[in-house]
């Protein structure tokens, strides 16, 4: 297995890299750690608040025996959660995925558009080709036309996101990807988009249903609506919400302290169970938005808005725009003594989320309505 740097047009070694910044460096270092069973903490260092949070623990505290990786997520309350993985967790997960790939296709390389700062990038874009012993091709910035050229090459397994599937649907390209196969992450990809892609390019997409906390749970192909759990993942339901027991989940998790993970692990995904291994995803129970592939809490955004001068109350709603490439748009309703400017909010968001581009629409001059116990329940125009 080798890493091919598409920008520099050369193969690079799997090696230790201090402070990796490019995708190639991130992957090289993560695989070096995986091969040599060296513990590594993986997160997006471009997010200032997350970086400060992780660094506040200190390296010695984070390092745990037998653990391979510690991934960080934004978490459901705005406090990042650290999720440990053993090497066996990642390896079993990789093979569960490999076993579900079409048996009549032979893959000789993986092309990936994703960064290696989270579990999807490292575990799927890195560990899977490592276990399959095939090359992985990495490019810092892909545009749809470039990905289309790579997808035309026979035997290519593409690890990407729904954003690229939607973008490929929108370019004018008369070609087929008959001998390639696409894997995408969990972000919304409508059955219509998946169907259009299948009909137009004669290629299939496997959508992986996963999260940092649970690892991969289930998958579906093309425009299917029913998710199938991996054979070794036990699924159940409690109060309509999915819970799982999985060999891809380690027994430790880091909140403010390191805690033991109890099984079954309760997710916040609202589901309809169809059989022992099949379910439909109906939605999410918490106030989470998906921005640039990361789940962020709308409560955290509200808190940032409410810290702006003159703001009395803010309410954030998540709006899905099926036609847009971006996952979700935030509608931000503000009750304040004076109008808030988008520019000021952007500056405040940047302090927390760094360069992550959060798309929002700001509604000033609102009154946020609350329930008798103070819960925000809606908004109305001040006028």
């Amino acid at each position: 297995m080798r890493i091919y740097d598409m920008d520099k047009k050369r193969y690079v070694e799997v090696t230790k890299v201090d402070n990796p910044t490019t995708k190639v460096e991130q992957l090289s270092h993560a695989l070096y750690c995986y091969e040599n069973e060296i513990f590594d903490v993986i997160y997006d260092k471009a997010q200032p608040a997350l970086k400060a949070h992780v660094e506040s623990f200190g390296e010695e505290f984070l390092k745990q025996d037998e653990m391979q990786f510690l991934y960080f997520t934004s978490g459901t309350t705005g406090t990042p959660t650290g999720v440990y993985k053993t090497k066996q967790n990642s390896k079993k997960q990789a093979w569960a995925l490999i076993d579900t790939l079409p048996k009549d296709m032979k893959f000789n390389r993986i092309v990936t558009t994703v960064p290696f700062v989270h579990i999807y990038g490292v575990d799927i874009g890195g560990v899977v080709p490592k276990e399959m012993d095939i090359d992985v091709w990495v490019k810092e910035n892909f545009i749809p036309e470039e990905l289309a050229v790579e997808a035309e090459v026979e035997g290519t397994l593409i690890v990407t996101t729904p954003l690229f599937i939607k973008a490929l649907n929108r370019i004018k390209k008369d070609t087929k990807f008959k001998n390639s196969y696409f894997l995408t992450s969990t972000a919304p990809l409508s059955p219509d988009d998946a169907k259009e892609f299948k009909e137009r390019y004669e290629s299939s997409i496997m959508q992986l249903f996963a999260s940092t906390e649970t690892g991969m749970m289930a998958y579906k192909v093309d425009d299917e609506t029913i998710l199938r759990a991996y054979d070794c993942v036990e699924i159940g339901e409690s109060d309509n919400m999915l819970n799982i027991s999985s060999p891809f989940v380690a027994k430790k998790i880091l909140n403010e302290t390191i805690q033991k993970v109890e099984f079954p692990f309760q997710t916040e995904d609202i589901v309809e169970m169809l059989s022992e291994h099949e379910f439909k995803l109906l939605g999410r129970s918490s106030n989470l938005a998906k921005v640039a592939g990361k789940r962020i809490s709308t409560l955290q955004i509200e808190s940032i808005v409410e810290n702006l001068e003159g703001v009395e109350c803010a309410l954030v709603k998540v709006r899905k725009d099926e036609k847009a490439l971006r996952d979700e748009v935030l509608d931000i309703y503000v009750e304040s003594s004076e109008e808030i400017k988008s520019k000021d909010l952007k500056v405040a968001l940047k302090k927390v989320f760094g360069s992550m581009h959060i798309v929002f629409k700001l509604y000033n001059n609102m009154i946020i309505t609350k329930s008798s116990v103070g819960k925000k329940i809606g908004f109305k125009d001040k006028k």
């Binding site: 545009i143 470039e146 954003l163 690229f164």
Partner: protein
Amino acid sequence: MITTADLKVKLIDGLGLEDIEVDEIGDDMALFGDDGLGLDSVDAIEITLIVEKEFGVKIKDAGEESGVFSTPNTLVAYINENK
């Protein structure tokens, strides 16, 4: 010939750049990064789609070497050369 003003109007509209006027985007302002307009890699993909749809020009590579995406000027030059 496409002008930088034509491009900026389409970018503001297509990328949903709230609160930004055409005059606030300099012809040589960096489109990406903290010192410029602050666009990101998803915006780059959006831009390729906007340019193809609005001006009928395909951008075939991310152009790290040629710097197509660097500024409004470089992007307009690419569009006019390939139209």
